[in-house]
Amino acid sequence: MTSAAPAPSRLRPRDTVRLAFSGLRSRPLRAVLSALGIAVGIAAMVAVIGISASSREQVNQQLRELGTDLLTVAPGTSFSGEAAKLPEESVDMVSRIESVNTVSAVGTVSEAYVYRNEAIDEGQTNSIAVSAARLDLLGTVSGEVASGRWLDGALAEYPAVVLGASAAELLGISETDGSVSVWLGGEWFTVVGVLEPVMLAPALDMSALIGWEVAEERLGFDGSPTTIYERSDESAVEDVRALLPATVNPQDPGEVAVSRPSDTLAAQAAADDTLTALLLALGGVALLVGGISVANTMVMAVLERRSEIGLRRALGATRAHIRRQFLGESVLLAALGGVGGAGLGAVATAVFAAGRDWPFALPAWVLGGVAGATVIVGALAGAFPAARAARMPPTAALATA
């Protein structure tokens, strides 16, 4: 007669977690050091993602402030390959499109350059363009005056100039109280203002802007705009975009190039992905090294704890229970590193963003990614040592003590 077979050994999942915790707690310094490896890798990856997300968020925030409803119209290349021109009356025609709110334009004055004084060699133009600007330009492109003033109806008839941010820097001009003049197109023009960099119209930064009238009267400007800036209702931007070529140049709509500067900025913000990928890869290498260090710790733990393994087998643990215990320890070790690393990475992102006055941004999927990555790393690192512990015959495990 055989009595009923004993009920199978059972290790509750909660107890597996408890075992993993107590295993790590018994050697805290070692646990911290080997989790540190994982933490460094995770921190690097989180910081890279966080910083690039924050930088993108910064651009997006700026775009929200500046608006994404600005379109620029410029002459494209004509069928024959020459630079095309926009008709003089095109600005007025654009303003007649329904849902267009403001229109402005600049017209580059050909053959006119600006120099600090008349003694400068004519070749040293610094690539600064001399452009006639309509008075409503600044409002349309959301530009701001850094010092001095913007052109007005009175100034537009006189030789007065407002310099773009880069142009002012290249010419070495900071005084805007009317005491400084520049040699522009063979005449002295008084500097009345300097602009802040214009995010949506970077071309203006390298321009010397003068009144439309003075350009026509004194510098032989033909009155044909080179860039039209237009703002419409946000919802109508695409419609306006479709209408613009034919409106501006009914004869040759194909010679008109329309662009949306906010798209370009957003694209640039997204374009630093190559660097991000490279840094992420470096973080991945650090994570790999961290995983190896966890594996090393676990191999040592298994060797040192042979008698514990033997005891547990004697107390009724199955091979699977032993494997689960060590696998749990390894995953927990990696998870500790992951949590620490995510925290470190978030702090690094916050510090970096605060230093540059950026908003702090860390996408939620990063946390999910960190959790997934550490569990996988921990499981991979612990798989071999745990299998080894499970395979250890209980007699051998007990005999070593």
Partner: protein, 254 residues
């Protein structure tokens, strides 16, 4: 003896029921028939060369022999930690040769209580949790494991040492904790490997006294030892030498 009287109630009803069932079917706790164990090598080592042994419920048996006699191998096979190369081994009526590793683990978890010479207590863990660990692989929830551990610590006379850690206990107390851990699973028999080997004579005597009390309460106990003085106190002594049983004596009315 009040301690032993309360211990009788502590050993569970289910255990008593099992013992009762075993008594009616006359199935011994341990049955070994012509068991051999050979360690391969050149020349191969015949650790056990045809051992037959029968241990009934409620017995207290000493397995005595010098080192190298094969008693450790016998311990491993009795404890289902190792398998025999030939012969039959039945624990509680279960033929070990037909059991998987998982089934053997279950047998160890529920039917065999181990006591080791080196105690094997977890450092930094209280006596209570060390004893509760003896039930870890039964799947009982922690609260119930601790409750039962407390009961058994009281019965080995360590009610006031429940929250002490092993390094705060004397050697004799540590071994008492280990005995409580072995008992906590309410096993069919207690397998003690040199239980006094790491203790001074006073502590050793106290641990032996505890084992005798447990035996008096009906616990089946197998003590493996090389110490003839320890063996002399046991009601039955199985002497083993060169992998064979040399003698099997019963001391009547020790």
């Amino acid at each position: 003896m009040t301690a032993s009287a309360s211990l009788a109630t502590a050993l569970s009803r289910t255990d008593a029921a099992r013992r009762g069932a075993a008594a009616t079917t006359r199935e011994p706790v341990v049955l070994m028939d012509n068991v051999t164990r050979v360690y391969p090598g050149s020349p191969p080592v015949y650790a056990l060369g045809g051992v037959s042994l029968r241990i009934e419920t409620g017995e207290m048996v000493g397995i005595v022999g010098p080192s190298g006699s094969g008693k450790s191998t016998l311990l491993n096979i009795l404890g289902t930690l190792d398998r025999a190369d030939s012969g039959v081994v039945r624990i509680d009526g279960h033929d070990l040769s037909t059991m998987s590793d998982r089934q053997l683990s279950a047998l160890r978890a529920r039917r065999i209580g181990f006591v080791f010479q080196q105690f094997f207590l977890s450092p930094g863990v209280t006596a209570l949790d060390n004893v509760a660990d003896g039930l870890l692989y039964t799947g009982l929830p922690l609260r119930r494991r601790r409750a039962r551990a407390r009961t058994f610590l009281e019965h080995v006379g360590l009610a006031d040492r429940v929250h002490h850690k092993p390094n705060e206990l004397s050697g004799g107390q540590r071994q008492r904790v280990a005995v409580a851990r072995a008992l906590a699973g309410k096993p069919s028999f207690l397998l003690a490997d040199e239980p006094t080997g790491a203790l001074d004579s006073t502590s050793g005597a106290a641990v032996l006294k505890l084992l005798h009390e447990l035996h008096d309460d009906g616990t089946t106990i197998v003590v493996i030892t090389h110490d003839h003085a320890v063996a002399a106190e046991l009601p039955r002594q199985v002497h083993i030498l060169d992998g064979k049983i040399e003698s099997d004596e019963r001391t009547v009315g020790r």
